[in-house]
């Protein structure tokens, strides 16, 4: 299939991009990595009047760390997340998750901001943003907004972004030395979207975990925090002992969808399997 005709602009500054968005309104789509948008265009699932290509906005391409905060420009590509030593050191959850997105050719183009703005419920990075309690920064000609990840994902491909806003960066704070992470996803083939996946972020406390956040993806219309399961494991000196309770809690936390890839019951079962697996792997270095 070929994309329907559209106009194309490539602004050189964020100010220019915001001006175009405010003028063109709903007819404009922002083009970042294009690894979800271009298929949608080719399949004519999306038919915008104009693509606003933001790849020329160098101001959106940075990885900046200070004290316990990591700031990532929206145009940080998956390959950069996976390879950055700064990210591997500060927030290895992102390195691990990015390395499991699709295939190398997709990772060369796909961007952090694009993945969050696309809000695919089975995607890796939205779940990471939720697990990390990240702040998503958006700009419009009216100014800048800071949106917590938990308030950002509203539903299937739906976010809190307005049509006149550009997602410019992501901020992750509280990256102290006691932070610990886990990540796993299940897919039938390497590189597919997840049937189900889990991003875990916590702090070490003795042999247990505190401030535990469990973000599942591929279970609902958006990434979901399993708060009851996390509470069952929070602060337990040996969290594996509380696993039965935590797995039972998942039934209240998650209300999985059935689709071609897995039934709701299978997803709920796999959520428990992943939780057990990821937790064991995360706790292993603390033993």
């Amino acid at each position: 299939m070929k994309a329907a005709a559209f106009d194309y602009v490539r602004p050189e500054t964020l100010g220019q991009a915001l001006h175009i968005l405010s003028e063109r309104g709903d007819g404009a789509r922002i083009l970042a990595g294009g690894q979800s948008l271009a298929p949608a265009l080719n399949l004519r699932l999306a038919m915008p009047e104009v693509l606003v290509d933001i790849n020329g906005l160098e101001e959106l391409r940075f990885i900046a760390a200070s004290d316990d905060v990591l700031r990532l420009g929206a145009l940080t590509r998956h390959v950069d997340l996976a390879r950055s030593e700064e990210i591997a050191h500060r927030c290895p959850l992102l390195s691990r998750a990015a390395a499991q997105i699709a295939h190398p050719a997709i990772r060369h183009r796909g961007t952090l901001g694009g993945s969050l703005a696309q809000a695919d419920p089975a995607a890796e990075l939205p779940a990471c943003a939720l697990a990390l309690d990240a702040v998503i920064v958006a700009s419009s000609s009216g100014g800048e907004r800071r949106i917590a990840a938990r308030d950002f994902f509203l539903g299937l491909y739906q976010t809190a972004l307005r049509p006149d806003e550009v997602l410019t960066s992501v901020e992750i704070s509280g990256l102290s030395a006691d932070r610990i992470y886990g990540f796993a996803k299940l897919a039938r083939r390497q590189g597919d979207f997840a049937i189900i996946g889990l991003a875990l972020a916590a702090r070490r406390s003795g042999r247990g975990l505190v401030d535990l956040r469990l973000a599942f993806f591929g279970v609902a219309d958006r990434p979901m925090l399993a708060v009851r399961a996390a509470a069952a494991l929070e602060g337990k000196p040996d969290a594996t002992q509380s696993m039965r309770e935590a797995r039972a809690a998942l039934q209240a936390d998650l209300n999985p969808v059935s689709d071609l890839h897995a039934s709701a019951a299978m997803r709920l079962h796999l959520a428990g399997v992943l939780l057990e697996r990821v937790l064991a792997e995360t706790l292993e270095p603390l033993r």
Binding site: L31, V79, H103, P104
Partner: protein, 159 residues
């Protein structure tokens, strides 16, 4: 409305007017006649349209030609003519790692990228790196054999 683009394709400067909706793979094939880049699914799944953009292998169907303005593009023709992958191509032929040949340009470019990053990838790493390139003749074992053999030969040549 058409846009003027300039890029370097296989070392040669190219200038053309393109419709924004034309993806890079179609531009290479239809405007430049470089038909080694194949069109498979046109939504980023199959990898037949793999080309290098500024040195990295990407999906030619998931980027519009207009976006490649100012970029350096390399196709299978360029990488083949330069001799860069002559040994990999010979290994593919020797091991019958191509049947219909439709996926082969993408397989070669992706495999070469892996071999440039990693001198001794194991079979699992080769499978993982090639996971986004589909062979519908399902000749994967021979393809992995050929990539593994090329890696070994290149290591031995260096010693």
């Amino acid at each position: 409305m058409k846009k003027r683009v300039r890029m370097i394709v296989n070392g040669d400067p190219v200038e053309a007017e393109v419709a924004p909706r034309q993806h890079l793979a179609d531009f290479l094939r239809e405007t430049l006649g470089l038909t080694g880049t194949h069109i498979g699914c046109e939504h980023g799944i199959c990898g037949a349209c793999s080309v290098r953009l500024d040195g990295a292998v990407i999906r030619g169907c998931l980027i519009f030609a207009v976006q490649a303005d100012g970029a350096r593009v390399e196709t299978i023709e360029g990488v083949s003519d330069s001799g860069e992958i002559a040994d990999l191509q010979a290994a593919f032929a020797a091991r019958n790692a191509l049947q219909c040949g439709y996926c082969t340009p993408g397989m070669l470019l992706t495999a070469q990228e892996l071999l440039m990053q990693s001198a001794a990838p194991d079979r699992e790493a080769i499978r993982e790196y090639l996971s986004g390139n589909y062979c519908r003749c399902t000749g994967y074992q021979a393809i992995i054999d050929a990539v593994e053999a090329t890696a070994k030969a290149r290591r031995e040549a260096k010693q």
